[in-house]
């Protein structure tokens, strides 16, 4: 071959590629593959669906709305936006052991954290602890970039500004006595958020970094005083702050507030009566929003999720039905050349 090429330089190369002779696998939608394939997929989906459904059924969920729009709601008087530092208490009971670990969520509905203008109004540079952004916040933070006196807001932007600030205390009522259920607020945010994405400026004490800046307008306290009880849980790595900053994709969402894993409640919440003390600060009535708390436990595949199991079951069944239809069609109109 080499010799031949030497003879005529114009002759195209004789390679499998240039001569389009590459070995090729030619799949064909033959009945022998498609019909069993459908049966297999169908059976697998039905199996997974059943497993998911059973798992999901075993998960316990307790939702308590505390918006307080209704007259009889214990938080009715707190829903008045003019009322400051209002506290209301919600009573509820659990019939059987709420298996642990129990997760304590707060939920908001009709709340558009997914609104683009809202979502982009933040400065990840600031939140990464970059001091240059402290002086001149990212322009997307408008209208929460500078205050009226042209002082930079740190942290800036609407997401930050609208930080959820209701707080909760949970008590079990044992023999008429209120026994506080310890709530664990550590590690409720994403690991990457806590360790990578959000950083405090490397200035000690932390508050010095915020010199010349103002706190977000709606915040009662500046960022370095978010958690008065734990000095390490302040600034941009405050767990509640991190949870809020991971904005929801849908207008009805819930966010993790605390875990119940400690003390007498390691195995879960025992049956009995409980009271939830709510520091009602966050106004939602202006946009017809609702607020709730949710208690839930999880399985290997996460929280309660009926839809997934049902969807798997339906699709699996459809696949099996399809395979039967195809089998019938195939038997009737056999592929012409296959006799």
């Amino acid at each position: 071959m080499v010799k031949e090429e030497n003879e005529s330089p114009n002759r195209p190369d004789n390679t499998a590629f240039t001569q389009q002779r590459l070995p090729a696998w030619q799949p064909m939608l033959s009945a022998g593959i498609v019909i069993p394939g459908f049966v297999l997929i169908g059976l697998a989906f039905i199996g997974i669906g059943v497993a998911l459904l059973i798992t999901s059924r075993n998960i316990q969920v307790l939702e308590l709305d505390y918006t307080g729009t209704e007259q009889n709601s214990p938080c009715f008087q707190c829903s008045d936006p003019d009322k400051q530092n209002c506290v209301c208490t919600l009573q509820f009971s659990i019939n059987r052991l709420f298996e642990g670990p129990v997760f304590f969520y707060y939920g908001l509905s009709n709340y558009f954290q997914n609104y683009r203008r809202y979502g982009v109004s933040r400065d990840d540079g600031q939140l990464y602890g970059d001091l240059s952004y402290f002086k001149e916040p990212y322009d997307q933070c408008e209208p929460y970039r500078y205050d009226r006196n042209k002082r930079p807001i740190v942290p800036c932007g609407s997401v930050v500004n609208s930080l959820f600030n209701d707080t909760f205390r949970l008590f079990q009522i044992v023999n008429g006595q209120q026994k506080e259920v310890p709530l664990d607020g550590k590690g409720i945010a994403w690991w990457t958020d806590y360790n990578i994405k959000f950083r405090n400026p490397t200035v000690t004490p932390l508050r010095n970094a915020f010199n010349g800046t103002v706190k977000p307008l709606f915040w009662p306290r500046p960022a370095y005083e978010l958690d008065t009880s734990d000095p390490a849980n302040n600034g941009f790595i405050n767990q509640d702050f991190l949870v809020w900053m991971r904005r929801a994709a849908l207008p009805d969402f819930r966010k993790l507030y605390r875990r119940i894993t400690e003390g007498d409640y390691t195995n879960g919440l025992p049956a009995g009566n409980y009271s939830l003390e709510i520091a009602y600060n966050y106004p939602v009535l202006s946009f017809n929003g609702r607020k709730m708390v949710v208690f839930s436990n999880v399985s290997w595949m996460g929280g309660k999720n009926e839809f997934l199991g049902i969807a798997y079951l339906v699709i699996g069944t459809l696949c099996v039905v399809m395979s039967v239809v195809m089998l019938i069609v195939y038997a009737k109109f056999k592929f012409p050349e296959e006799e």
Binding site: N10, I48, G125, Y138, C319, F335, P336
Partner: protein, 1182 residues
């Protein structure tokens, strides 16, 4: 010079007078009018840019592309902060990349153009300045300069030939670069200027030339020379055009008429029409629709935004007040509209253009690389000269093919003959071992070693001295106009005017009747080793009306004999009415030959007594120069002849031509032969390449000379077709019932039903019809009101042959089919005369490796053999489609990519996107990680959906991939790999820490993809998207299989069962092929004359006048010069009378051949020397 070309019929005026100064005194001052009209230098620029203009011009050109402008538009939108929904660099990076790559490519191209411009502009030429010749660069030559050209030099500009070193102001040029023809042409100066021999005289020349403005017509020039108060008409015959090469002429002087960009060469190299494929147009339409769809979506979403802002957003202002400039929901909606235009820009498949271009580029490379389209004989590979037409190769419906050089090799070979009722040259057993080629050398030392003949009985017959056979070959050795040249003893070279004659004389030579030389009045031959000199008494020349030629010779014994060869139809009428048996047998033989597509001639002789000769000779003399009288005189003596036999010459087809045409016709591609050649020749080729067969229902010949006549003929043809097909249909219906292969038949009919009403009936014509139309009739048929009539008739025929057509008509035919049939057309040809056709067809194919390059330069694809066409069109995968040419049909009917298919794709796309959004929506709304953190966050949702999308698309692509080669694996898996790699990179800490506000997805990929729920979601979405497609395809395959599926399936099954390839489902065309071969064996009686003879009139006279021979005696010389002008006139007159008005390509070589002889013979004999070096000019001496 814009001001000149804008004048319509205005004259192009050049004031020579002022330039006289340059000639005499060097560069002198010029008057204003000179400046205006005549300052053009001979400097050419084909480059587009210079350093300064490159950027603006190139960018301007690039932004004429829709895609680039669209990107620019997006970029501008993105720079408005209120609108911008994506970062600006998402647009500028790809845009800058595309722009810079194209710019670099353009710059490189232009650099090479600059280089070649420089090279050409700096060539040296000798210009007459200050009364003497000085070297000057080409670029400095001006209009009005006088240039001296030497032998083998390129002509620098369009020149008016003033004088030449040769007598009569003649010079010879080769025009290969201009029109692709390699034969020499003669040019002659105006007689008054031809005497201006030397520079001193020329410097005084102060004529004024008024001529037409610069144009691109290579074969026409009109002008006037005003000199010394006299007018001289100038024609193309006086012009030397830029690009020609001076040959066989020592030197000549020319006056520059057009320089630089005004030259005909440069005018012709104008921008070639940019060809766009129908897919391009369809894509443009679809992209526009999609853009409309995008705008609609933008409007819907903007309205949605307005409603939302009004109902919800106003309430939500507690957390998010409206931007100060956005003071209401309406304004917000307006901004949102633009935001959506940006964010949804990927809906517009701009990348589709890029993908399509890349695919086509790949196709072109595969065409270039194809070894099976490589011709080792001419060492040329196929070349895709245009990279943008590949898909149209799969949609061709009509092929327009040139004949000479494309279908045929233009080589004639002596195949068979019939002598005294005995046919020789038949191959006894076509299936037997290949017969041995006869070796003539032991028998005949003068034999031509290249001559092939296989039937040794003929040689035996000559050897045993059969008188008929010997007389037969004697005739062939005497009756012709060939000149011979004997370089050394026994080494004969024949210079024939037509290849037919050369073949016949060569045959005679090999069979022992060697034509050695001729003089004015003698022919010397070597007959069976014995030298014999015949006295040539007369040549009764050939012409198209007579269809025969004769010679009258006196042999050494003093007997006078007339030898005649010609068309059987003509000759058989002029035989002595005896030996009827022989006549019948011979004409049967000739018919058999004709049916094989061979070109036949009948041969006869007549003995003349001295009295007869004397008498006729006198009458002949009287008839001199009067054409009618002359032919009457010829008629008179060509009577009472005795039949000798007939010859059959094969006009050698290129390899594999009949097979290719048969295969293409099975693929529902119609082939039309469009040739400038004669009707007989073209029809013969039609038969030999099996386009025409004797089984055809009817062959219609349209050769009317008036509109009415043509119309009538066309109409009659149509009526007959309808009548015949009706009878045939009724026969066929009975046949079809018994026929099993209905599924193969059904396919063809459905596609095209959109013809104009009168043709409706014509569409359903069944039966094999053929139409042969002559050039002069075609001219009428192409008139506006006849077009439709012609096209309906022609398209109902299986085969169409247009003969004697001019290059322009070739293009018109193509345009006509394009216009009325809306079909994809392909034109294939090799000569300059095919250029117009190649340019106007959707796809132009040039045959390369032959002489001219003009056709190749104008073509989109070029290769060296006609048969490669089948591979070019039916390739993918080659073996399969060559075996089942029917697979080609879906492409012709556009079944694979059309609006319907497109909308199905769009519907599937919408379905997929709905699934991809709502499945994760429904699942993730409630889902949480197993550490309790919810999964509803925006970034998780985004990563899940995007991953599901990439996986669904990859699976879909895998389903659509029929051939999984290593590349498919690499690209499918590679793109998945790329997706994950890029995602992890973009979500990495490194990028985030540098640009925290742009890469804020940090960590999302890791966190999301670790969740089992996410993978369950992706799996669910994938299955929901793919399963319906899979089921639909399977059911379609079972219920309504396409031919391609069936073939694919069959082949795979065959491979599996290891049956021999091809198997039971034998290919149609092979069967067809064997049938036609079978037909060759058992020939039905063809009643068609196979006469064809590519010959030009006038050469007989040339010989008898002796003008083209080197004459040794002065006496003869004076005789020659005395007569020369008259015979030239005759030749010219006849040429005009017997060729179509505008010289069609096929006969151009012959014509120019004759004109070169014409030029030469005008010379005074002694000065002929240089000319005789030319290969064209036969020279002999006795």
């Amino acid at each position: 010079m814009g001001h000149c070309s804008s004048k319509e019929a205005a004259v192009w005026r050049c004031l020579q007078r002022n330039l006289l100064q340059r000639r005499r005194e060097g560069s002198g001052p010029m008057t204003e009018s000179t400046m205006k009209n005549c300052t053009m230098l001979n400097c050419i620029t084909t480059s587009k840019y210079n350093v300064l203009t490159f950027l603006p011009i190139n960018l301007f050109e690039q932004f004429q592309e829709v895609a680039n402008t669209y990107f620019l538009f997006l970029l501008i939108l993105q720079l408005i902060p209120q609108i911008s929904s994506l970062s600006w660099f998402t647009t500028i990076v790809p845009l800058a990349l595309v722009l810079s790559i194209t710019a670099v490519k353009d710059a490189t191209d232009d650099y090479f153009r600059h280089r070649s411009d420089n090279q050409v502009n700096n060539r040296q030429s000798r210009v007459l300045i200050r009364g003497s010749l000085q070297n000057e660069k080409w670029m400095n030559v001006r209009v009005g300069d006088i240039i001296k050209l030497e032998n083998n030099q390129f002509v620098a500009a369009d020149l008016l030939l003033l004088s030449s070193s040769e007598p009569h102001g003649l010079c010879y040029i080769e025009t290969a670069e201009l029109d692709g023809e390699t034969n020499m042409k003669v040019r002659q100066s105006v007689s008054v200027t031809s005497e201006l021999g030397d520079p001193n005289n020329l410097a005084q020349f102060n004529g004024e030339v008024v001529c037409e403005p610069p144009n691109n017509k290579l074969d026409r020039f009109r002008g006037m020379l005003y000199w010394r108060e006299k007018k001289y008409t100038l024609t193309n015959q006086n012009m030397l055009l830029r690009g020609c090469v001076l040959r066989n002429t020592e030197a000549c002087y020319g006056l520059v008429i057009f320089a630089g960009p005004d030259t005909k060469l440069m005018q012709n190299s104008g921008r070639t029409k940019f060809k766009r494929t129908s897919i391009d147009r369809l894509m443009n339409t679809l992209v526009l629709w999609i853009f409309g769809f995008l705008v609609c979506m933008g409007i819907v979403l903007a309205v949605g935004n307005a409603v939302w802002e009004r109902e919800v957003g106003t309430l939500f202002q507690h957390y998010l007040p409206w931007d100060p400039p956005v003071d209401g929901f309406l304004f917000s909606a307006v901004l949102t509209f633009w935001s959506y235009v940006i964010i949804l820009n990927t809906v517009v498949p701009i990348s589709l253009y890029v993908s399509v271009e890349v695919i086509r580029l790949g196709h072109s490379y595969f065409i270039n690389w194809d070894q099976l389209m490589f011709c080792s004989k001419c060492n040329t590979a196929a070349e895709a000269r245009t990279t943008t037409l590949s898909e149209e190769l799969g949609q061709v419906e009509y092929i327009f093919s040139d004949k000479t050089g494309t279908l045929t090799q233009n080589i004639m070979s002596f195949k068979k003959c019939s002598i005294n009722g005995h046919s020789y040259g038949e191959v006894a057993n076509p299936l037997g071992p290949h017969p041995k080629r006869l070796d003539f050398t032991p028998f005949n030392l003068l034999a031509d070693p290249d001559f092939c003949f296989y039937d040794d009985t003929l040689l035996e017959s000559v050897k045993v001295g059969d008188s008929h056979t010997q007389e037969f070959f004697r005739l062939l050795s005497l009756c012709h106009t060939v000149m011979s040249e004997e370089k050394s003893e026994g080494e004969l070279v024949y210079k024939a005017q037509s290849p037919d004659e050369s073949a016949l004389v060569t045959a005679a030579r090999n069979f022992g009747f060697v034509f050695r030389s001729r003089t004015l009045g003698t022919i010397t031959t070597t007959e069976m080793g014995r030298t014999v000199t015949y006295t040539l008494l007369a040549i009764l020349d050939f012409n198209n009306a007579r269809k025969r030629m004769s010679v009258i010779v006196r042999n050494p014994e003093g007997r006078i004999r007339l030898y005649c060869k010609g068309a059987d139809t003509v000759l058989l009428e002029r035989l002595r009415p005896c030996k009827q048996d022989l006549i019948n047998i011979t004409s049967d033989h000739l018919n058999e030959y004709a049916a094989d597509g061979l070109r036949t001639l009948a041969l006869a002789y007549r003995d003349l007594t001295e009295e007869q000769w004397d008498m006729w000779s006198e009458s002949h003399q009287c008839a001199d120069k009067e054409e009618d009288l002359l032919s009457a005189a010829y008629e008179q003596i060509e009577q009472d002849m005795t039949l000798l036999g007939g010859t059959a010459i094969e006009d050698k087809l290129q390899e594999g031509v009949p097979e290719t045409i048969a295969l293409l016709s099975l693929a529902n591609i119609k082939t039309w032969i469009v040739t400038g050649d004669k009707q007989e020749t073209a029809v013969n080729i039609g038969y030999s390449c099996k386009m025409l067969t004797d089984d055809m229902t009817q062959v219609f010949i349209i050769s009317g000379h008036s509109v009415q006549r043509v119309k009538q003929e066309l109409r009659r043809a149509r009526e007959q077709m309808i009548a015949l097909s009706q009878t045939k249909d009724s026969e066929r219906e009975e046949v079809v019932e018994g026929c099993g292969e209905v599924c193969f038949m059904k396919f063809g009919g459905a596609g095209k039903q959109s013809q104009c009403p009168p043709s409706n009936r014509m569409d359903n014509i069944s039966g094999d019809f053929a139409l042969i139309i002559n050039g002069h009739s075609l001219a009428h048929a192409l008139e506006a009101d006849m077009e439709e009539e012609f096209i309906t008739t022609a398209c109902a025929c299986k085969a169409v042959i247009c003969c004697r057509v001019t290059p322009l008509q070739k293009a018109q035919v193509v345009e006509l089919v394009k216009k009325y049939k809306r079909a994809v057309t392909l034109a294939i040809g090799d000569g300059a005369n095919d250029v117009s056709m190649i340019k106007s067809a959707h796809i132009g194919v040039g045959i390369s490796g032959q002489e001219g390059i003009q056709a190749v330069l104008a073509s989109d694809y070029s290769f060296s053999q006609f048969r490669f066409l089948q591979r070019l069109l039916l390739d993918v995968p080659d073996q399969r489609s060559l075996e089942y040419p029917k697979l080609y049909e879906p492409g012709q009917f556009n079944l694979l990519f059309n609006k319907k298919v497109f909308f199905i794709c769009i519907a599937q796309g919408i379905y997929t996107s709905v699934v991809l959004f709502f499945v994760p929506y429904a699942i993730l709304a409630d889902a949480s990680q197993n550490n309790g953190e919810p999964l509803t966050d925006y970034q998780t949702f985004a990563v899940t959906t995007a991953t599901a999308l990439v996986i669904v698309v990859s699976v879909q692509i895998s389903l659509d991939t029929g051939f999984w080669t290593i590349f498919n694996h690499v690209f499918v898996w590679g793109s998945l790999g790329c997706y994950f790699t890029i995602m992890f990179a973009v979500h990495s800490q490194t990028l985030f820490s540098s640009f925290p506000n742009h890469f804020h997805f940090v960590g999302s990929a890791q966190s999301t993809l670790l969740q089992p729920v996410v993978w369950l979601t992706i799996a669910l979405a994938t299955v929901i998207c793919i399963v319906p497609v899979l089921a639909f395809r399977f059911l379609k395959l079972d219920l309504k299989p396409q031919l391609s599926d069936t073939v694919r399936h069959t082949q795979l099954m065959c491979e599996k069962k290891r049956r021999p390839a091809g198997g039971r489902v034998a290919s149609n065309w092979r069967r067809a092929g064997s049938v036609s071969e079978g037909r060759l064996g058992a020939r039905g009686g063809s009643r068609r004359s196979g006469y064809a003879f590519a010959h030009q009139e006038g050469f007989g006279e040339l010989i008898t006048s002796g003008k083209n021979m080197r004459l040794s005696s002065l006496a003869l010389a004076s005789f020659a010069s005395r007569h020369s002008s008259s015979w030239i006139e005759t030749l010219r007159r006849k040429k005009h009378a017997h060729t179509p008005p505008s010289t069609s390509g096929e006969c151009t070589p012959a014509l120019s051949h004759s004109s070169s002889v014409l030029g030469c013979s005008q010379e005074a004999p002694i000065e002929v020397e240089t000319v005789q070096e030319s290969r064209m000019i036969p020279t002999t001496s006795t």
